[in-house]
Amino acid sequence: MPKTDEEKGFVDVVNGRYKPRGVFHIIEKNQPIFNKDSGKLAGVTNPRDMTYIHSYGGEAIFFESLGKGKLMATRCDNDKCEAKGSIFEPFRIYCPDCLRKATIVDITEKAQKMAKIHSFIITHRSGAFNTLPKPIKFINVEFDKEVVTILMSVLSVGEPEIGKRVVPIFRTKDPTYTIMDLMFVLEGTPESDLPEGFTY
């Protein structure tokens, strides 16, 4: 059952420190585990309800931009690096070769014009805590030669096929500020077919 706001934990950053408020763990009694055949005690359950606090650091702009309909990446602009000009998506704060801070670039338009499916899977199963409707169509997205990596995402509308053109969509209404705010649809999908809260 979803938690009420009174049962949730929230965090702000105040004066350079995390400031938690609300509820961060609900204590639940452990339960014995018995062997139904022998009637003997085998062990106990150890329930945990924890909320982790996590910093996005230099990647925060990527996750914040999704809710604004922007796909941000980074590019190495170091003249002395062989990787100069390489665009990284997933976003890398530092160039993996020269370890200089990479330049943040907006590749929304590039993705709209160039993105295509490199590989994909369709699955009816997922790990616990997943919220996507099943079957889930996971896709790996390639852009152009400047983008030297292949982004993992979800195809929200359409049937995946290697080489098919896709375009990004963004959860601009009530963003979650996670990677779940970015999905893709097949090129030509009408805006009216996009999932609730998503826009081009």
């Binding site: 993996p96 997922s126 790990g127 616990a128 889930i136 993992m152 990677i179």
Partner: protein
């Protein structure tokens, strides 16, 4: 394109020879609701001491440092689990350390132990691994395993590991399998072979007598991978003990030379940039220049179709040990068949077959103990224990179980471990009426690949009869 420097490609050197003197393993299963982890670890250690005719107390007298492979603390809700096991094994006050490299944890624990002996720090080191994957519900377990991906970019999508491999399978099938139904069948043959071999192994968690059709008709996990294409999620323990030459011959008359090396690649497959294929000793310059022509789309290396970490680990280990062509120079291999597709990818990464030709290893029958086509011994049998698909994948123990299994073949004592009726009974398992020895006859050299994530870490271990070394020290 990324490049490697000469310094990075320098062949690792062990400062003195290192020997595997014994190995042991517990029973493996999906769940042990009435057995603590330490009981399984002690089972593995005791099996290792029995193997050299010592009591556990006698064997412990030789050990100087301990390397523990235990990947997933969060499964067991126990930090410093290594300390618990070290104490229960009664090995205080020896120095010990935990090693965590995903599915390669077992191999990495051995990598550390070998280096400790090679450097002279220790004359005898224990590598012992385990995993406890039964103490959370399966879907939570799948979530916890998939957390061994990027927690911001991948895990929230709800992936599970099968999904990470399925995208590789799609890509491989399209490019190198040319979308042929026959390629799908070859993948299924691996599952049939390994689950069938597991029937001869009392330790094995997932033995099955199945057909290619059973695999192809089994429920889809992440298309094109089906339930029977996937490895097991197991609980159990395995260990190996390595020594310098003098100590090795004090413990046994038959120690095996051990070489081991490791490689790595990005945790996110997404980050894998294009590069030139690093060549193994049995490959020629220019060999892959036309790969993209022969297999359109296959020019992106390693892309979604190869594991650079496996290639680099093999590159180091082959040069260290003198192996030129694994199919000619080795007699048996234990590969990390997490999924049928990754098994095929590994054949190519470690040079059993060139890139694009991995399927041939299965289709020719070379990968079988007895080649199903010729009815003669296979050229290079793979995974006679059943592998991860048939025997077990108790993550921290897997690489050590594989090393143990290769050892049993070279020691010519495979039957002693897998045949005794009393062991089958003690494990509560029924020995098949058609039990058959899978001892690879005359095996003198073997290899084990321990592999993590979607190829984030890989170790390559080579064991040799010291009288059958390829390279002079």
């Amino acid at each position: 394109m990324i490049k490697f420097s000469d310094k990075q490609l320098r062949i690792p050197k062990l400062m003195r020879p290192v020997y595997l003197v014994t190995a042991g393993m517990s029973k493996f299963g999906r769940a042990f609701p009435e057995t603590r982890t330490e009981e399984l670890c002690i089972q593995a250690f005791t099996a290792a001491s029995d193997f050299v005719g010592m009591t556990p107390a006698e064997l412990k007298q030789y050990i100087h440092t301990c390397y523990y492979g235990h990947f997933a603390d969060h499964f067991g809700d126990q930090l410093l689990g290594e300390s618990v096991i070290h104490d229960r094994l009664g090995l205080d006050p020896l120095g010990n350390i935990g090693v965590k490299t995903g599915g390669a944890t077992g191999g990495s624990a051995m990598w550390e132990a070998v280096k400790a002996v090679a450097s002279g720090y220790s004359d005898c080191a224990l590598a012992l691994g385990w995993e406890r994957m039964d103490e959370v519900p399966t879907d939570e377990g799948n979530h916890l395993i998939s957390a061994a991906a990027d927690k911001d970019w991948e895990t929230p999508l709800g992936h599970m590991y099968t999904g990470y491999y399925a995208v590789m399978a799609q890509r491989y099938w399209k490019i190198f399998g040319k979308e042929e139904e026959s390629f799908r069948k070859t993948m299924a043959e691996i599952a049939v072979k390994n689950r069938g071999y597991a029937r001869m192994n009392p330790h094995a968690h997932g033995p099955m007598k199945i057909t290619v059709e059973d695999v192809i008709n089994s429920p889809i996990v992440a298309y094109p991978l089906r339930v029977l294409d996937c490895c097991l999620m197991s609980v159990g323990s395995a260990c190996g003990i390595v020594c310098d030459e003098k100590t090795a011959y004090e413990i046994t008359d038959n120690p095996l030379r051990i070489y081991i090396a490791a490689g790595s690649h990005t945790l996110r497959v997404a980050d894998r940039r294009d590069m030139k294929v690093p060549l193994l000793p049995n490959e020629k310059q220019g060999q892959y220049d036309d790969l993209g022509k022969k297999f359109p789309g296959g020019n992106r290396y390693p892309g979604f179709t190869g594991f650079l970490a496996a290639r680099v680990a093999a590159y180091y280990a082959y040069h260290m040990s003198g192996v030129v062509d694994p199919t000619e120079d080795l007699d048996v291999v234990e590969l990390h068949d997490a999924f049928t597709i990754s098994d095929i990818q590994t054949y190519e990464d470690i040079g059993i077959r060139p890139y694009g030709k991995g399927r041939d290893y299965i289709e020719t029958g070379d990968a079988y103990v007895i080649n199903p086509q010729t009815k003669k011994p296979g050229k290079l049998p793979s995974n006679p224990c059943g592998g991860l698909i048939g025997c077990m994948h108790a993550v921290g123990a897997t690489g050590l179980m594989q090393i143990a299994e290769i050892g049993y073949h070279i020691w010519n004592r495979w039957d002693e471990i897998h045949e005794p009726e009393e062991k089958w009974k003690a494990f509560g398992r029924e020995k098949p009426k058609d039990w058959t020895s899978l001892q690879v006859k005359g095996a003198k050299r073997g290899l084990a690949i321990s592999h993590a994530g979607v190829g984030s870490h890989v170790t390559c271990t080579i064991l040799m009869d010291p009288n059958k070394l390829i390279k002079e020290d």
